[in-house]
Amino acid sequence: MIDEHQEELAALSALDLLEPGERAAFESGLDRDPALRAQARELREAAAALAFTAPAAEPPPELADRILASVATREARGGRRPAGRLISFPSLLPWAIAAGLALCSAWTARLYLNSRSEAAMLRDQQVLAGLELRSVRNQLEAERIVNQRELTDTRQDLAAAGRRLSELHQEIADFTRAQKASGSLASYNIADLASTPGVPSQTLAVAVWCPSMQEGILAVSNLPRLPAGKDYQLWVIDPHYPAPVSGGVISVNATTGEVYVTFRTVQPIRSIAKFAVSLERKGGAPEPQGPIVLLSDSPRQPSLQKPET
């Protein structure tokens, strides 16, 4: 009875795959078991049949000649001879000549085979070198791609950093301006505007001017309704100018009579003596022409002390 392990060893043996230890065990089994010997033989035949699965290839025509020549050379050299074949002494001389010729042929054949073997080696080396070259090229190409990607990433990072830097510059500028504005709070000019005679006295108005920003705010309540074809216009009276400087036409809420506007002057203001609001023609005038309806005293500086609680 052949067990599975022996079957396995027989299959491996058929393909010359046995390890030394396995070979010893298998061969001892072969000696004892005729059935195992038969199976080993069948499996070796089956393994040999795998030769038929190789893609078809026709041996070259010269191979048969080469084999025949080799056999002839070997016989001439005194190699294996047909059994029972006798050679008489008189025939030795021609055989010696033939042997000499055969030796020369063998020597030539050996040289030929050696050179052929060297050529095969060189071909292999060439193939190997070609593969190495291809491998190096592939590696270089891979490195180039990686470097290109890194360069692209770096450029993108650089662009992002540039954008961030611009944002920071803007933030710094904003912060600086805010600081400047906050630092110049003490220099703000604040003035209450009072109604001139003929204007209802319940009108309240205040103007704030920031010298550093050259910008101000005017807030008014209960301003009399505008006559048709007229506009209120704000003026800043700066002693450095011979005439009041226009702060622009102010827009009044027709229902409430309230005003809340941010204004800039048409000329830079160096110091403020007074604020005034006059009634001018529609669209305003370059210099005051109409009657003054609101007028302030000299502006005061704000107190930065905390109010007492």
Binding site: E4, E7, E8, A11, L12, A14, L15, D16, L17, E19, R41, E42, L43, R44, E45, A46, A47, A48, A49, L50, A51, F52, T53, A54, P55, A56, A57, E58, P59, P60, P61, E62, L63, A64, D65, R66, I67, L68, S70, V71, R74, E75, G79, R80, R81, P82, A83, G84, R85, L113, R116, S117, A119, A120, D124, L128, L131
Partner: protein
């Protein structure tokens, strides 16, 4: 009908033609029973042992195609395949006296001699892994659509080569792969396991099952 190749010298051509009529395995496929073929092969070896070169020519006509194709498949080099095939026929000529038909057929003996020589060459040059890496699945000999038809296939559908290929094609793919690496790759058990990324025991079992099934399928033709 004579099928002797026109390139053979006169004596060889006649011998090959005679061989084709005696045992048309590699030519016409009108095969004699397997045992008769093995007996005829063994008889040729006995004649070779007696110095009969015509017997060698006859054996060449029977074995040269599958042996050369196998050598080429293992070595992937035509010049080396020719060298190995040459050496095998010389070995058959020189060792024909020690052939024992009880231990196996002449063909399996010739295949064993050929594989040993071819695999030795591969190992000597230490290029096995490179050759295997270059081998594409379609080159493994089981892709009927991609592989070129065997010379014997062209001759007849009843040809031995075709029968074996068909039998191998019925094996599960993992068994075919293991057998192929063992037969043509010249790898050890462990190397096959590494190549296929499978445990060694699995590889051994696949080889056992595959070879037993192949034996059962083609036994009547071998």
């Amino acid at each position: 009908m004579s099928i002797a190749p026109s390139y053979l010298p006169g004596a060889w051509a006649a011998a090959v033609a005679a061989a084709a009529e005696v045992r048309p395995m590699t030519a016409t496929g009108e095969g004699a029973p397997a045992d008769e073929r093995a007996i005829a092969d063994a008889r040729l070896l006995r004649r070779m042992a007696a110095g009969d070169r015509d017997a060698l020519a006859e054996l060449y006509g029977r074995f040269s195609r599958p042996l050369y194709a196998t050598a080429l498949q293992i070595l992937r080099d035509a010049a080396e395949a020719q060298d190995v095939t040459h050496d095998v026929f010389i070995a058959l000529w020189e060792k024909s006296a020690v052939f024992e038909s009880e231990r196996g057929t002449a063909f399996s003996w010739a295949v064993t001699l050929l594989r040993n020589r071819a695999i030795d060459r591969i190992r000597t040059r230490q290029r096995r892994s490179r050759l295997l890496d270059e081998a594409a699945p379609a080159d493994l000999g089981y892709d009927e659509a991609a592989a070129p038809p065997a010379a014997d296939d062209r001759a007849s559908s009843r040809d031995d080569a075709r029968a074996v290929r068909a039998a191998v094609a019925t094996l599960p793919a993992d068994q075919r792969r293991a057998l192929h690496l063992a037969f043509f790759g010249g790898l050890t058990q462990q190397e096959i396991a590494s190549q296929l990324n499978e445990p060694l025991g699995t590889i051994k079992a696949r080889i056992r099952r595959g070879l037993h099934k192949l034996r059962d399928t083609v036994a009547h033709r071998l």
